[in-house]
């Protein structure tokens, strides 16, 4: 089924972003159980049922136009959200090739790619782009290749150089991170950029995860889900703009909680980049308000139990301590055990 794009909505200021019923039905609800603890929740990225967010390598949905407009706004204010260290140039071209090839194959009504040797032509119909260029020659594109293609693809991307038995964040396009910064993490290793995460290091989660990632082979990508809560449907919750969104956590109250608080789910997708041997880390972010989420009462019930019982260290790290009780109280109406008691 062909994706139909909504007219432009905003992820800032007046926050007009909403999900259609269809978007809600395909939302990647991240909890397989009534409780949550960090684990090595990685699986081979085998395609799932058509129409789901797991059916293609790079999911395009109804928010495409809005998300690309939001990325332009962020980049205009802060061009350094896209960075490519010189030794990552091949990985940037690898990424461009992978994104263009998959988007053209999976969404032929929106994108097409024709290749004659190194002479390529890319067409992006929704954004009205037709670009002829020479693969490998950055001067034939309007900007650096990673920036070029990720301005046209939903989700953030980090490109990890693999060396010394570790992964290094040496390139990326990061305009919608959940409270971190590509500028701060640039050049860091897997172990270093994960340092702020509580509990997981002691549990050996990162050691095992890294081992697995280092072994990812060409054409055998893996995926995992991560989640947090965000106040307002704000995409750009990066460290750089903390002063713009941090105080919104104090604005949540019993009346506005259901429309203001959003479950933020990241579908993380990790393929090996063939030419450069770098690892691509795609972070595709899905936002849903509690109100929208509760149209599926089973989700609301489960989220109630997860948030109620979440260890404080994790709740603190995810930045929800200030308003967590409002969320738990509101969700409790969907939990039969609570209602009966």
């Amino acid at each position: 089924m062909s994706v139909i794009f909504k007219p432009l909505e905003s992820y800032r200021d007046d926050f007009t972003y909403h999900n259609s019923a269809q978007a809600i039905s395909r939302f990647p609800f991240p909890f397989p159980e009534d409780n949550y603890m960090y684990s090595v929740n990685i699986e081979p990225a085998t395609p799932r049922e058509p129409g789901s967010v797991f059916s293609h390598w790079f999911d395009i949905d109804e928010h495409y136009l809005s998300e690309m407009a939001e990325r332009s706004i962020v980049l205009e204010r802060d061009p350094e959200r896209c960075l490519v260290m010189p030794h990552m140039a091949t990985a940037a071209w690898d990424t461009l090739e992978m994104l263009m090839t998959h988007m053209a194959a999976d969404y032929p009504e929106h994108f097409s790619l024709s290749r004659e040797g190194e002479r390529w032509t890319w067409i992006n119909r929704p954004l009205g782009i037709e670009q002829a260029f020479t693969f490998g020659d950055a001067d034939t594109l309007p900007c650096e290749p990673l920036e070029y293609i990720t301005r046209q693809t939903q989700g953030d991307f980090a490109l990890l150089d693999q060396r010394d038995g570790n992964l290094f964040m040496d390139a990326g396009m990061v305009t919608c991170p959940a409270d971190w910064s590509i500028k701060f993490d640039a050049g860091m290793s897997f172990t270093q950029w994960h340092a702020p995460v509580p509990m997981a290091h002691q549990m050996g989660v990162f050691e095992r995860a890294l081992k697995y990632l280092l072994n990812i082979q060409v054409d055998h990508p893996v995926r995992r889900l991560n989640w947090t809560l965000t106040v307002n449907p704000r995409m750009d919750t990066s460290s750089e703009t903390y002063h713009e969104w941090g105080q919104e956590r104090a604005l949540v109250n019993a009346e506005n909680v259901a429309s203001m608080v959003h479950l933020r789910v990241e579908l993380q997708f990790m393929p090996r980049l063939p030419r450069s041997n770098a690892l691509l880390f795609g972070i595709r972010t899905y936002l849903i308000s509690l109100e929208e989420l509760a149209t599926n009462p089973a989700w609301a019930c489960r989220l109630h139990r997860v948030l109620r019982d979440l260890p404080d260290a994790i709740a603190d790290y995810k930045g929800m301590t200030l308003y967590r009780q409002f969320v738990v109280d509101w969700l409790s109406q969907y939990d039969p055990e609570v209602v009966v008691a």
């Binding site: 684990s39 060396r163 040496d170 063939p274």
Partner: protein, 314 residues
């Protein structure tokens, strides 16, 4: 897990009296791309057995229309190199595993010191276009028996000039590893591929000179996974499951209709843990503690040791 790709042999070229080059093209679709230092595993039907040998890809990673490998005829081989030399002709179809890379150049090296012995030249042939494109500092030291294992010598001479040093054992030229390694600038990474003696020599001298381990690289190939065939008996259901050499215990159980929870299928998530009551296990996971290993097995990666049947609590 990694289903093999079918390729057609597009060309066979004799490079030296004991080294043959094979060019593979895709039978359908395009070949997966690869990076410098990658290898493929070629599956060969030798008699009753299927022999699998790993070979470095020696073509330029920028050109993925075909793969090229070179095979040295080994005296006491399991039959793989003999099969490649004597049986495989242009037009034949072969199965190869998708490329994997356990020998990639390090992006941060100040200088790349490449040391090849004989057929060990092959991975460096895929390094050179990449290092040259990056304008990286490198030198190649190539030891061989002239007229016998000196594959690609002429084109290397032409292409590399003074960045190439050669050592022909027929002419009594000796590669003095101690002196070579001692004279390297700080921040150099050394890469070695060739006979075990050469690899050991580089590792020993580098260690004696105090090189950090992460700056010393030698070619390793992915182990021929999964492994030896074995039998698993299921204590509770009474089923007997034969695990073939190209299948994991988890896959064999699934095929027998036994569902085991699983996620990563790579020995790290802990989901697939199964208790075993008897038998010896080759543990390959990164999840279980030493004590847990005495009674638990991760069937996505681990196997029964050859010859001993495994009794599972299933």
């Amino acid at each position: 897990m990694n289903s093999p790709i079918e390729v057609r042999v597009a060309a066979v070229t004799q490079i030296t009296p004991v080294i043959r080059e094979f060019t593979f093209e895709p039978v359908r679709g395009a070949l997966p791309g690869f990076s410098s230092g990658s290898h493929v595993v070629v599956h060969m039907p030798v008699g009753e057995r299927s022999v699998r040998n790993a070979y470095s890809l020696l073509s330029n990673p920028a050109q993925t229309q075909h793969y090229r490998i070179a095979v040295r005829l080994q005296d006491e081989s399991r039959g793989g190199s003999r099969y490649m030399h004597e049986q495989v002709k242009a037009g034949d179809l072969l199965q190869v595993s998708p490329p994997a890379n356990l020998f990639a150049p390090n992006s941060q090296a100040r200088h790349h010191l490449l040391i090849a012995g004989g057929i060990g030249i092959t991975p460096f042939l895929s390094y050179l276009p990449e290092l040259q494109a990056r304008d990286a500092s490198y030198s190649l030291h190539y030891a061989f028996r002239g007229g016998f294992t000196d594959a690609y010598l002429d084109s290397l001479r032409e292409n590399l000039g003074t960045q190439l040093q050669t050592y022909d054992s027929i002419q009594g030229q000796v590669l003095d590893l101690a002196t070579l390694l001692a004279s390297q600038a700080l921040g150099t990474h050394v890469y070695v591929c060739g006979p075990q003696r050469l690899i050991d020599g580089v590792r020993v001298h580098a260690e004696q000179l105090g090189w950090p381990e992460i700056r010393v690289h030698w070619e390793v190939f992915a182990a021929p996974e999964p492994g030896h065939p074995f039998v698993a008996n299921l204590a509770r259901s009474g089923l007997t499951v034969e695990v073939a050499s190209d299948s994991s215990l988890l896959e064999a159980l699934e095929q027998a209709g036994v569902e085991i929870p699983n996620l990563c299928r790579g020995g790290v998530c802990g989901q697939c843990a199964v208790a075993y009551l008897d038998g010896a296990v080759e543990h390959r996971d990164a999840y279980l503690s030493a004590t847990e290993r005495s009674n638990t097995v991760m069937p996505c990666v681990s196997r029964g040791l050859c010859g001993s049947a495994l009794l599972l609590d299933l």
